[in-house]
Symmetry: C2
Subunit: 242 residues, 2 copies
């Protein structure tokens, strides 16, 4: 029986980021990450602070809970983490959701490949820029994109780089140059995960978004690119579970 | 020789709406519309107020101007209006842009079909809800979607409904139910095109966006749906040409 460490199940809400931004979706957040990004906005998935909330659930349990909460008001589920790519059994959940008529989106930093990647309807690979303090394993990332290519699934995937500063922007250019044919998203980083005043945060985020747009517009290395804000943070500040 | 009535050429900037929201793009705004939406935010394209700014340009002229402004910093052009679907010669511009390695997005309300629709890379059909004061010609809209289907281009198109109130939301549900397999976007209407204080506008727009999300989330008739803000208005208020 499959067993997936789950921290949160909630929705329906909108997807606030990336290739299907705005999509009505349910969220399943898994526990555990092989990274330790300096600005991680879901550190509770790996830093032990929420370890008593982790539940080991089967795919059936997860679907049941999704249905209890979401009823007939969803046909799309987003799996996020942590790094859900650590979980071999995720494929069982993906199959079950497909059987139930749901599309599945999933985000991972691209440090690990799983065979079920080729089943994901909206797969976001978000390698982490220098400001995270992490090192990208390019061999792994090349490998993932190679597998997706072989399976004819590149059009179901995208790359997303979160940008906090100029060094991150340079990194983003490298990623885009390395995989020019993969849909590419730039996103403003929220480096203010403690800010409790939503209006202050909203204003700061829009200013940073404007900066990122400006820098992207003036670069001829960033053309086939989409620049997005973090819609969730704009709307709901730093609250969890919305 | 083709002749296209042009009001504005600008960019690169981001696409602020719809299926390729965030995409780096150049804009070409054409003059003339067969509609008179009550809340039209580009009434200057048809109300005579900018008639001295209209230039009749050939496709080559337009590309030359795009290149003069945008240089090597774009590979995507968005044609908006007014209603660019009034212009038979648009196909010549689309072909030329493709030759130059550009993708082409275009938005129209869906009141008129043109053969070149099947060449557009990101075609947004945005039928107008009751608050506009306009009547949708469903036979025309059915016809357009039929043509796209025949040409295997439905995946290059999307429907977008701008929502100002509850009646608009009901209209949106009808549109989605009529074309369930077409990618469907809901967008908050900006009914405050006179507001000059950007922060006030930004705050109002986010509140309305939150309302639209809430109403969408609680409806089982709106599942395969994406809800988006008007990113341009959030960032730049009611200014033109950004
Ligand atoms: S990869 Fe994601 S979940 Fe893991 S530490 Fe980095 S930001 Fe946090
Ligand atoms: S269809 Fe568009 S351009 Fe024409 S009046 Fe309506 S909003 Fe304005």
């Amino acid at each position: 029986m499959s067993s997936i460490p789950v921290l949160e199940i909630f929705g329906p809400t909108i997807q606030g980021e990336g290739m299907v931004v705005g999509r009505k979706t349910m969220f399943v957040r898994t526990a555990g990450c092989d990274y330790r990004c300096s600005w991680c906005d879901s550190a509770f998935t790996w830093d032990g602070s929420a370890k008593d909330d982790i539940r080991k659930l089967s795919a059936e349990d997860i679907y049941e809970e999704l249905y209890t909460i979401g009823g007939d008001k969803f046909d799309h589920v987003t799996v996020s983490g942590g790094n859900p790519a650590l979980l071999k059994d995720m494929g069982i959940l993906v199959d079950l959701l497909h059987d139930k008529g749901c599309e599945v989106a999933l985000e991972t930093q691209g440090s690990r490949y799983q065979e079920w990647f080729t089943k994901i309807d909206d797969l976001t690979l978000s390698p982490k820029p220098p400001s995270s303090g992490m090192e990208t394993n390019w061999v792994k990332l090349d490998g993932i994109l190679h597998e997706l290519e072989q399976a004819g699934r590149v059009d179901k995937a995208s790359l997303k780089v979160v940008v906090f500063d100029e060094a991150d922007l340079e990194y983003a250019k490298d990623v885009h140059a390395r995989y020019p044919h993969v849909d590419f998203f730039l996103q403003v980083g929220n480096d203010d995960t403690e800010e409790q005043n939503d209006e202050v945060l909203m204003y700061k985020l829009l200013k940073k978004y404007e900066w990122l747009i400006e820098r992207t517009m003036e670069s001829d290395a960033l053309n086939r690119v989409r620049v997005l804000p973090q819609v969730h943070a704009l709307l709901w500040g730093n609250r969890r579970g919305v």
